[in-house]
């Protein structure tokens, strides 16, 4: 990492519209910083000139050097202004920050990925890693939930993964019209049908906190213990380096100690409201 406090200018190489409110930016460093190394699960602070800075997970392939990819949902001041960015524009990048998905620890085990909405973005690097090292893992199940069929992120990729014989992909939506022939209902409902052995699986979970709460219970029902469940937490962040205090979650700084936590290590505070 160059200077953790100072954004480095990166040029936007490509903007892809994913959904009505979601877009993906492919960024390349300008200046002397040619490579950008990160691990699945980490995030960057993205700076839009004069507007502000926000934490955004890295959603690209850690194997692709010299480029960093982010998928952003426009929800407020900074993310909405970023939606106007075009190829050739620049954004500032600080990072990468934070803990990582347990890619090594999961080797030799089944991998079950449970995610909802934009939560698929921080998990995509983990999926790329598993697929690139497919032989090192047991069965692989990706369970994804979206609000409606038109909110399904990376739909083409999900379909491509689904077509593979060595990965099982299940998607579900909360509500759908008659043209949707897939699952309807919450993502936890997919778990009992998931192709994995709960006693020998590592689970990677990312989504809204309520969704993660239910998912942990449903995973427990399948025999996955809390020390094999990893969740990615979200908190307000201003600095990403442990100085601003905003991201505190009990005694943890989500920016430094997280965002990925082994569930048994945060279990006690996770169930307390407003912590």
């Amino acid at each position: 990492m160059a200077d953790p406090m100072t954004p480095e200018p990166f040029r936007i190489e490509r903007v892809s519209r994913e959904l009505a409110d979601t877009f993906t930016l492919d960024l390349v460093p300008v200046g002397d910083k040619r490579d950008f190394d990160f691990q699945p699960g980490q995030f960057n602070m993205l700076y839009h000139f004069g507007v502000g800075e926000v934490p955004i997970s890295i959603s690209g392939d850690a194997g692709t050097k010299g480029r960093v990819t982010h998928t952003v949902r426009a929800v407020g001041t900074v993310t909405e202004s970023m939606a106007d960015l075009k190829k050739g524009d620049m954004v500032g990048v600080r990072g990468p920050f934070g803990s990582t998905w347990p890619m090594e620890l999961a080797e030799g085990h089944d991998v079950v990925i449970v995610t909802g909405g934009i939560g698929l973005a921080p998990l995509r690097p983990a999926i790329y890693h598993v697929l690139a090292n497919r032989g090192k893992y047991g069965r692989v199940a990706i369970l994804y939930g979206a609000r409606t069929p038109s909110d399904i992120l990376y739909r083409e990729e999900l379909e491509a993964w689904s077509a593979r014989l060595d990965v099982s992909v299940e998607a579900t939506v909360d509500t759908a019209g008659t043209d949707w022939t897939g699952n309807v209902g919450v993502v936890t409902k997919l778990l009992p049908r998931g192709n994995f052995d709960g006693r020998d699986a590592v689970a990677l979970v990312c989504g809204p906190e309520v969704m993660m709460r239910f998912t942990v219970h449903a995973l427990n029902d399948q025999g996955v213990t809390n020390d094999c469940i990893f969740v990615s937490m979200e908190r307000n962040m201003k600095c990403a380096v442990g100085f601003c205090g905003h991201c505190q979650f009990g005694s943890r700084f989500v920016c430094k100690d997280g965002p990925v936590f082994r569930f048994d290590q945060i279990e006690d505070i996770f169930r307390v409201k407003g912590i």
């Binding site: 406090m5 929800v75 524009d89 307000n236 600095c239 442990g242 100085f243 005694s251 700084f253 912590i275």
Partner: protein
């Protein structure tokens, strides 16, 4: 606690000597910051000489109560701690940390470090400890706050041992006062008897020893007599003994064990969520940033400002504020100070300065809240 400034080598100076010290530091390029009376309170602002210091003023402090009274005494350090803390200078309330300039379609960013050379005069033991706690926060093992340490490393620290405790002090129970035993360049103890008014002056660093040598050249220094040392020790001891408030020793464990407790609802009915406690606390470190541009949009700046966990915005994430309830915000604050801080920094987060008690408009008392939490539930 290890003794760094040895009273054994201490010397004695008078008020003239203190004045000479301030002027000496100013001549050396320091901005000397010290206590002075402004708008009815002792604040920490630039001082030019001993005449600026609050001679003959004492503070009356209690929960939600602060009043300066004129006393019939030339004592300069009879007051204790006021609403200001030294973080005002080491980690200022608003600081520009980045400057960015538009260049074609892109921009360049440069870091801004503003580090004046401060001499901090009148740092009490609790505040000295608080500075050492902030040192830990801003060098957390993974990242270092360069701006903070640029100011911190330059700062010349003149500690003052407390010879009087305010009504809200509880530093004894936090092991952080009233005697400053480490981490200063010079340490002062005021000695006031019927016949004399002097200061026992001890060096705690090489810089401090040099300053004493300079004062010697100016003939401002006398050898300390055994009686002077005894008088100083007695005055500090009396301050310790007079302290009425104290913190329970098991506060960290109590708070960790009681995240759910009826007391949180109760305190929320009194707490105004005004953030005063966090602003006056010498260890609270939280900040936010504001990114702003000039009118033409050519240059942008990032300003880092003190923030407080008592605001709604502090924990806002898309969809709602995490600590929406006042009870959860108070719980977070006190739990951070007394419990989770230990997990984060392997040290205490409260130094017992009592400011949060004095400056709370409704007089919520951190020591009392912990005591109540520890009572058996009925």
């Amino acid at each position: 606690m290890a003794k760094c400034g040895s009273a054994k080598d201490a010397v004695v100076i008078g008020t003239d000597g203190l004045d000479a010290l301030i002027k000496l530091l100013a001549k050396d390029g320091y901005d000397v910051i010290g206590p002075r009376v402004e708008s009815g309170a002792v604040v920490l602002e630039p001082v030019d000489g001993v005449d600026d210091l609050p001679a003959g003023w004492a503070d009356e402090q209690d929960g939600g109560h602060y009043r300066l009274t004129k006393i019939d005494s030339p004592a300069i350090f009879e007051h204790v701690v006021g609403p200001h803390t030294w973080k005002r200078y080491l980690s200022p309330p608003a600081q520009t940390i980045l400057r960015a300039r538009k260049r074609g379609k892109g921009f360049s960013v440069e870091e801004v470090v503003d580090a004046p050379k401060y001499a901090l005069l009148g740092v009490r033991a609790c505040d000295l400890k608080a500075i050492s706690l902030q040192d830990r926060v801003f060098d957390n093992g993974d990242f270092v706050d360069k701006g903070y340490f640029a100011r911190r490393n330059k700062a010349f620290v003149i500690a003052v041992n407390c010879t009087r405790a305010a009504g809200t002090c509880f530093c004894v129970s936090m092991n952080s006062g009233p005697e400053a035993s480490c981490g200063f360049d010079l340490g002062l103890t005021e000695i006031l008897t019927k016949t004399k008014h002097v200061f026992l002056l001890a060096a705690g660093s090489e810089r401090g020893r040099k300053a004493i040598a300079e004062l010697k050249k100016k003939k401002q220094v006398k050898a300390a007599a055994a009686a002077d040392r005894a008088a100083a020790a007695k005055a500090v001891d009396a301050a310790a003994k007079s302290m009425k408030r104290k913190m329970r020793k098991d506060a960290a464990r109590l708070l960790a064990a009681n995240r759910e407790h009826p007391r949180w609802e109760e305190v929320a009915t009194r707490c105004l969520s005004c953030a005063n406690c966090t602003m006056v606390c010498p260890t609270c470190f939280c900040s936010t940033v504001e990114d702003v541009t000039d009118l033409k949009g050519k240059t942008a700046e990032r300003v880092r400002r003190w923030d407080s966990c008592f605001t709604h915005d502090f924990s806002y994430i898309h969809g709602g504020t995490v600590r929406r309830l006042r009870s959860s915000r108070y719980r977070h604050w006190i739990t951070h100070k007394l419990s989770t801080w230990h997990d984060q920094f392997q040290t205490q987060g409260c130094v017992g300065c009592g400011r949060c008690i004095t400056w709370c408009p409704v007089g919520i008392d951190i020591t009392e809240e912990v005591r109540e939490l520890g009572k058996r539930r009925t």
